[in-house]
Amino acid sequence: MILSRLSWLTDRLIDLSVLLGAVGLLVALGTTTADVVGRAFGRPLYGARDVVSMAGVFVVFGGMAHAHRKGAHVAVDLLERHFSPGLNRVLTVAGHMLGAAVFLLIARQFWLQVDLARMLNMSTNLLYLPRAPFLMAMSALSAICALSMTLNALQLIFGHQKPEVTR
């Protein structure tokens, strides 16, 4: 019951992440094109590179959890056919847990950078977009990926899910 509710919540968070990524991609696309068109008329878009750079943060980290849900993160399945189903299940759980640990570490490191970014007033070069909120977003998006991986591991342990076939 708890796992199903958590699974529903995680799915909504992943949908939100990928939506942020898609919006980031559209922002990058629109800004880049506006800059090119403006430049053709002698009026390039001021700070376009700043906007595109920060949109990239959402494009890259917005898709992490979605890629995990689709089983798209690249793994080598060379020996999968030679392992027993039980061993495959154990290895899949181990992969999810190690992945969750790495993403939690990434989330923690970005979170620790937030204070530093605030203290040093770190921002983009032209528009002075502060770096701290973007680091917080990266931290949150990484944490969602870690949550999704942990949940998948728990679902496998408690028999709620079959191990997925890796790419």
Binding site: A28, L29, T33, G56, V60, F61, A75, V102, F110, R131
Partner: protein, 436 residues
């Protein structure tokens, strides 16, 4: 323990983690972080994670990857790629093995829109396999042509493989894109020649398709013009100095979306699928790249690349002997590793050797990407073969692997030609951007 010993133990652990299906990027993070923490300290390891993670994710230049992937995904969703295949079909479909050749030409054209081989194989597989089955093509030839044609996606620019190589080696993306044009076209010709030879020796493999009238040819060509226009706009814009690669990708993606919306061939659902697929694919590629920026410094601290370099240059086989050894390593690794992972894992080791031997890094980039392409269709881990299998489930995997064998031979011929005549890769960048 000496740093070199730690380095080799780290590589051993990485291979074990990969063998037990730990995702490539996660394995590289674990070994890289652990190795740097051991050889330096924990703070140094974690600083690579935070600093490189942010700088790579917020790199405006790297947005070229999702934007070109988006352009390819939109072209697929709006049916533009189908029209390109139809045009190639109208012109060369009546040749012996013509439908397979049309698939290769369609793949080459689609490759000029999308930097992804997997997208290329999937799109062309859906479009052409049914048609070839209808005309009695041998499943080996048809699936082999789709799987091999799909590999053109990472050789013909824009190419995600070249972008990754450029980031890893600090080379120019524009120069690499230019260097990929002629080898890409040459490979299209070699693939078509392979199909023609096979169909001539055994006509049952690829019977001639129906003849089309001149008006049909004209109509099909007209239908493919938007896609050709998009390729000319984006790639021509880069080479003409109008756009940077990222700008070209942005303009191209927007044009593809507008075309789809205006002609009502792109639905809102199709657009949102193209966007979410692009974001997801970008995350996969970028996670490997960020992991490579943690794993690379570990290798450098361990001095393994220096040791391997000294070993290779110390062999009495001459510079080309070393090059062939490196290419052989790629061929073997390509059988087991995913292409991008292979590139990021090996570049810190092989690139210093290549430059110290006096080889041109742009030329080597083209060779490395061709080797990466071969890895996409070599057994047992041939990503494109698995993609084709998902589109043609009735064809046994072993038949598809047999089908790609003649195309692998064409790729070996291309590698040999590139080694014998480096100008095939270098003439365009050197002519248009000047000799370095």
């Amino acid at each position: 323990m000496s740093p070199e010993t730690v380095g080799f133990i780290g590589i051993g652990i990485l291979l074990v983690l990969l063998a037990i299906r730990i995702p490539v990027a996660i394995a590289m993070f674990l070994v890289g972080l652990g190795g740097i923490a051991y050889l330096r300290n924990e703070t140094a390891a974690l600083s690579y994670l935070a600093n490189d993670g942010f700088s790579l994710a917020s790199s405006a230049d790297l947005l070229v990857i999702p934007l070109f992937i988006l352009m390819g995904n939109v072209a697929t969703e709006s049916g533009m790629s189908r029209k390109l295949y139809d045009a190639a079909y109208a012109w060369i479909g009546s040749w012996r093995g013509g439908l397979a050749s049309a698939t290769v030409v369609g793949s080459g054209g689609f490759a000029a829109l999308s930097g992804s081989s997997v997208a290329s194989a999937l799109t062309m597989g859906r479009v052409s396999l049914g048609e070839m089955q209808r005309f009695g093509y041998s499943p080996r030839l048809s699936t082999g042509a789709v799987a091999a044609g799909g590999t053109l996606g990472i050789l013909i620019p824009p190419s995600t493989g070249f972008v990754l190589y450029a980031i890893l080696t600090q080379e120019s993306i524009g120069r690499l894109f230019l260097a990929g044009v002629l080898p890409g076209l040459l490979l299209v010709v070699l693939f078509i020649a392979t199909i023609m030879v096979m169909s001539t020796i055994n006509p049952a493999l690829g019977p001639s398709g129906p003849r089309t009238s001149w008006s049909d040819k004209g109509r099909a060509t007209l239908g493919s013009l938007p896609l050709i226009g998009l390729v000319v706009l984006t790639i021509g814009g880069i080479y003409g100095g109008l756009f940077s690669p990222t700008e070209a990708a942005g303009v191209g993606a927007l044009m593809a979306i507008l075309y789809g919306l205006v002609t009502r061939t792109l639905s809102f659902t199709g657009l949102s699928k193209a966007l979410s697929d692009s974001v997801s694919t970008t995350a996969v590629v970028m996670l490997i790249l960020i992991a490579a920026h943690v794993f690379g410094p570990f290798l450098a601290f361990s001095r393994v690349p220096t040791l391997v370099g000294e070993f290779l240059t110390g062999l009495k086989v001459g510079v080309y002997g070393v090059l062939i050894l490196i290419l052989a390593c790629y061929l073997i690794l390509g059988c087991f590793l995913e292409g991008y992972a292979m590139l990021v894992l090996t570049m810190p080791i092989f690139f210093p050797v290549i430059t110290s031997l006096g080889f041109d890094p742009i030329w080597f980039g083209v060779l490395a990407v061709v080797m990466l392409e071969m890895g996409l269709i070599t057994p047992p881990v041939g990503m494109n073969v698995f993609i084709v299998k998902s589109v043609a489930p009735s064809v046994p995997l072993s038949d598809i692997f047999r089908g790609v064998a003649p195309f692998l031979l064409s790729m070996v011929v291309l590698v040999a030609l590139l080694i014998l005549f480096p100008q095939i890769a270098l003439i365009l960048p050197n002519t248009m951007l000047g000799v370095r």
